[in-house]
Amino acid sequence: LQDPRTIRKIVSVDNRSVLAFAGLTADARVLINKTRLEAQSYRLTCEDAPSVEYLARYIARTQQKYTQRGGVRPFGIATLIAGFSDPTTEGEEGKPVLYQTDPAGTHSSWRAQVIGGRNAKSLREFLEKNYEDDMDEDKSVRLAIQSLLEVVDSGAKNMEIMIVKADGKAFMEESAIDAVVKKIEEEAEESKEAKKSSD
């Protein structure tokens, strides 16, 4: 019954930066609006796009401010900000970067991270076990969906996947997510059968 467009948990804060959050949606909206304004303000004064790291620092700084003042409460959200770093002056291409912020106001960089829900800790262990360096897009998408499947009821309708690349970003089509989900479930079945027959 609900219009899914209105409960997006993955939003753009700038042309090349994307933010996903976990926690109080109302608080997220306020913080995201502040961040969008800051990104445009940066573009106006510096005539350049803000780096992902700059935005993460800004969000963290804002979240911290609300922990050390009277009459306010901390933002009840943790965020994951993703994008690409700028190409270096030596001509190296930009690299994908992922930052996390929390209600305390800390920000840190991650190669893989999970926020929200009650199982964040165990899911992080799952990621640590299965993350490999230099995974390609398909493998990374698979890992993300595998982790999500641990906490959501199976189905692409319960998932949002945004893929951020150097030249742009796009949400994954529901049919594409379904295909990966199916493959994962099939392979899980096969390994279960293999285990049974070997016992």
């Binding site: 467009r5 753009s12 804060v13 700038d14 609006n33 969008r36 304004l37 990104a39 445009q40 303000s41 573009r43 106006l44």
Partner: protein, 201 residues
């Protein structure tokens, strides 16, 4: 003194401006681009002191970008952009006015039509079919009055602009050798031609 032209045609709008940047007896630059894109399908030709020209147009540009980002990619119509711009001019008028005179042109995909708006430093706003800013209006409005008609093509609209440029080259005291002409249609904003490459050297 800057010159800005705008001509609406069937399916788009042409915005042109001279490329000079001068003050007092000094000519700072001959390749300035005074037609600033505000969104994917709109641009504004600005005239006035360089500080206000750049400051005001960039300010409006970033605010329009903020709106699109904050509203799930919804684009502001040309009419809305013009009224927003006028509001900012009016608010600043009794504080510290922006000394800019502009012609804002845009193409709206929702109505599949183009529009052109005339705004001046006193925060006037008027939808027009063609217009000029600067001393050029004394020479060229009459040419546009004569040449413009309903249902022009892009080439015909650019021809009107070039007719006006020719008149200025003949009769206007101040030499403005370089003009930049931009066209806005369903495919967005593109530069049709320029006298000097505005790219930073």
């Amino acid at each position: 003194m800057d010159t800005v032209f705008g001509v609406k045609y069937d399916g788009g709008v042409v915005i042109a401006a001279d490329q000079g940047n001068a003050r007092s007896i000094l000519m700072y630059q001959r390749n300035l681009d005074k037609v600033v894109p505000l969104s994917s399908h709109s641009a504004v030709g600005v005239s006035g002191p360089n500080a206000d020209l750049v400051n005001f147009s960039e300010y409006i540009q970033k605010n329009i970008a903020l709106y699109e980002l904050s509203n799930d990619g919804m684009k502001l119509s040309t009419h809305a952009q013009a009224n927003f711009m006028r509001g900012e001019l009016a608010a600043a008028l009794r504080r510290g006015p922006y000394q800019v005179n502009v012609l804002l042109g845009g193409y709206d995909e929702s109505t599949e039509s183009s529009s052109l708006y005339f705004l001046d430093y006193l925060a006037s706003l008027q939808k027009v079919n063609y217009g000029c800013q600067g001393y050029a209006s004394s020479f060229c409005l009459s040419i546009m009055d004569r040449d413009w008609k309903e249902g022009l093509t892009e080439d015909e609209a650019v021809a009107i602009v070039e007719h006006c440029m020719q008149e200025l080259h003949t009769r206007f005291l101040i030499a403005q050798p370089n003009f930049i002409i931009k066209v806005i249609d369903k495919d967005g904003v593109k530069t049709s031609k320029f006298g000097a490459d505005p790219a930073d050297t």
